[in-house]
């Protein structure tokens, strides 16, 4: 059989599937189950858990996380531009300037609307 490039991927998938199944199933067959209170509680890096896992917490956390991701990802696109600044020349500079202006308007909008204040 001629080795198509897809054969390698198929082999990879089969190995991944077999390994995953073995890891998931085999321990279940051979272990002895002796549950204790400590073994059954949620694992938090070895420290006894301090609070209920399914509590409510402020939606502000999500807002901060989202804003962080948005501006972090957008800021990350500055790096390739900075590295290739000379090669991209004035065209790249003007493009980046436009990008910063648009980003800045968004930033100002979030700021003014109180997205950064922890109320």
């Amino acid at each position: 059989m001629p080795a198509s490039p897809w054969t390698i991927i198929a082999v990879y998938f089969i190995i991944a599937l077999v390994v995953a199944c073995v890891i998931a199933i085999v321990p279940g067959i051979f272990t002895r189950k002796r549950p204790t209170v400590e073994k059954l509680e949620a694992y938090e890096c070895g420290v006894p858990p301090t609070s209920a896992l399914l509590g409510r917490f402020p939606v502000r956390f999500f807002l901060v996380a989202m804003l962080f991701v948005v501006f972090d990802v957008e800021a990350a696109s500055f790096f390739p531009w900075a590295v290739q600044l000379k090669a991209l020349g004035w065209f790249g500079f003007m493009e980046m300037l436009t990008f910063i202006v648009v980003l800045g308007i968004g930033y100002a909008y979030v700021w003014k609307k109180g997205g950064f204040s922890w109320r």
Binding site: V102, I105, K113
Partner: protein, 481 residues
């Protein structure tokens, strides 16, 4: 080392750039003025629609492919863009009555609507798989938020949550399908799909199937339609109108471009599409029978209408594209008009989403009732309305000698008969005599009246003089292919 800059045709991108500037202006005005009224912000929105349309005029009849082949501004995208801008302008008019306590700031609402439409315009001109995905995501992300802008109502929160969860699942299908399509022909360009489509390699079939699932979700085609009723019901009225029209217009542009680029003729792979069309026509019309809420009814109606529009692709020929554009334009006029009546009567509230509110409406508000009847007649396909001629065009296309074509034609007629009952019941209800006193007539604001009038004008003119428009240049879009 120097990097050759990507050749950019600013003429081709001008409509989107103008609209984007409009969106930024809306945000800045909302920021800088203490109390920019709804009217000012939405007015800027309407003005940017008109400005973007003006920027489209030099593009008329031209065909420019730019951004390394990622984006095409041709006759095909021109007509879709015009429809999208029309929908956006009408959506602003419908939004003008929204109450201040409806949640969200009018500035972010207007800006999101504009950015959403830019996403739709990217889709209409998308010429490779990345641009398709970029457009769909921009459209969807803005819509997820817009669906939730009625958040004091719990149903709006529910709609936003359901839409974001199911929508991201659909996007997953779409991007996975795109990846497999890329794997099948080694190119992102839609034009390159033809080679892989001819051989029907397993990779292509799998990719196309997943891609169809993703698009089917966005179009609310059965069996990927289950989200539509809940989300249409929960979203604010104007957003529902935009969802029903704008999203379908943009997504059908993508579907048509992909199908025409990949196949160019009837292909066995398209059987899946025909089956989806038949199922949508049945599910949409049967599902509409039992609805007591007009927004839910419109959701099922839009499922059926999407099924009808897929029929236009039968045979994959030029007439099909023209018929699809004609039907989409008719659908846009009619649906925006119907939602306009709902917004007008409800005076910014959702009270006229309830079908019971329409009982005996004709004797209280004769004009809105008569126009609502007109829109329902057009959705059902009664002669002398735009919907009628649209269906005639689709029926002609369906009879192309294939068994699937005949099956679609039969389902189309059957679905239309069921829809006569569905819409007829509502119209009958409006003309039924009611005992007791008539409630005080409210809702006579000028902005939604303009939207209703525009919808009614389009419905009647397209219905009475269909040939004039069907044969006109914007609808003969296929020539650009």
């Amino acid at each position: 080392m120097t990097i050759a800059p990507v050749a950019i045709s600013w003429t081709a991108l001008a409509p989107m750039v103008v609209l984007a500037c409009g969106g930024l202006v809306v945000m800045l005005v909302d920021l800088l003025s203490r109390s920019a009224s709804r009217a000012v912000l939405y007015g800027i929105g309407v003005v940017s629609c008109i400005a973007a349309f003006a920027a489209m005029l030099p593009l008329y009849g031209r065909s420019i492919v730019t951004l390394n082949g990622a984006f095409a501004a041709d006759r095909f995208s021109w007509t879709f863009d015009a429809l999208l801008l029309f929908t956006l302008a009408l959506t602003f008019l419908l939004s003008s009555l929204r109450k201040a306590d409806d949640g969200g700031s009018p500035g972010s609402y207007a800006a999101l609507l504009i950015f959403c439409t830019i996403g739709g315009m990217v889709m209409a001109g998308a010429n490779n798989l990345i641009a398709v995905f970029l457009g769909i995501e921009q459209l969807s992300l803005a819509l997820y938020v817009l669906a939730g802008t009625g958040f004091p109502r719990e149903s709006s929160q529910e709609a936003a949550l359901k839409y974001v969860l199911l929508g991201s699942l659909a996007s997953g299908f779409l991007i996975f399908g795109s990846a497999l399509l890329y794997g099948a022909d080694g190119s992102m360009a839609l034009a390159a799909l033809a080679k892989a489509a001819a051989s029907l390699s397993p990779l292509f079939v799998a990719g196309f199937a997943l891609f169809l699932v993703g698009l089917g979700f966005k179009l609310a085609l059965a069996p990927f339609h289950t989200w539509a009723p809940d989300i249409y019901e929960g979203s604010p009225l104007a957003v529902t109108a935009f969802m029903a029209v704008g999203v379908k217009v943009a997504t059908f542009a993508v579907l048509a471009r992909v199908v025409y680029a990949a196949f160019g003729h009837d292909s066995p792979a398209l059987v899946a599409l025909w089956a989806i069309a038949i199922l949508s026509m049945l599910v949409g019309n049967f599902g509409a029978i039992r609805q007591r809420n007009l927004k839910r009814l419109m959701a099922f109606s839009s499922i059926a209408q999407a099924g009808y529009i897929v029929v236009a692709l039968n045979g994959v020929n030029r007439e099909g594209l023209s018929a699809m554009l004609f039907y989409l334009a008719a659908y846009a006029f009619t649906t925006m008009g119907a939602f306009g009546v709902m917004a007008l009567l409800g005076d910014g509230s959702e009270s006229y989403a309830d079908l019971d509110a329409y009982r005996g409406l004709f004797f209280k508000r004769p004009w809105p009732a008569a126009l609502m009847a007109l829109f329902f007649f057009s959705l059902a396909g009664i002669p002398a309305t735009a919907g009628f001629y649209g269906k005639i065009l689709l029926l002609q296309l369906a009879f192309n000698g294939t068994a699937w074509g005949v099956a679609m034609a039969v389902t189309l007629v059957l679905g239309t008969l069921i829809s006569f009952y569905v819409y007829g019941k509502v119209v009958w209800n409006m003309f039924a005599a009611v005992e007791g006193e008539a409630p005080a007539a409210s809702g006579n604001a000028i902005a939604p009246w303009i939207a209703v009038a525009a919808g009614a004008l389009g419905t009647i003119v397209f219905g009475v003089l269909p040939q004039t428009f069907y044969a006109s240049q914007p609808f003969l879009a296929a020539a650009a292919k």
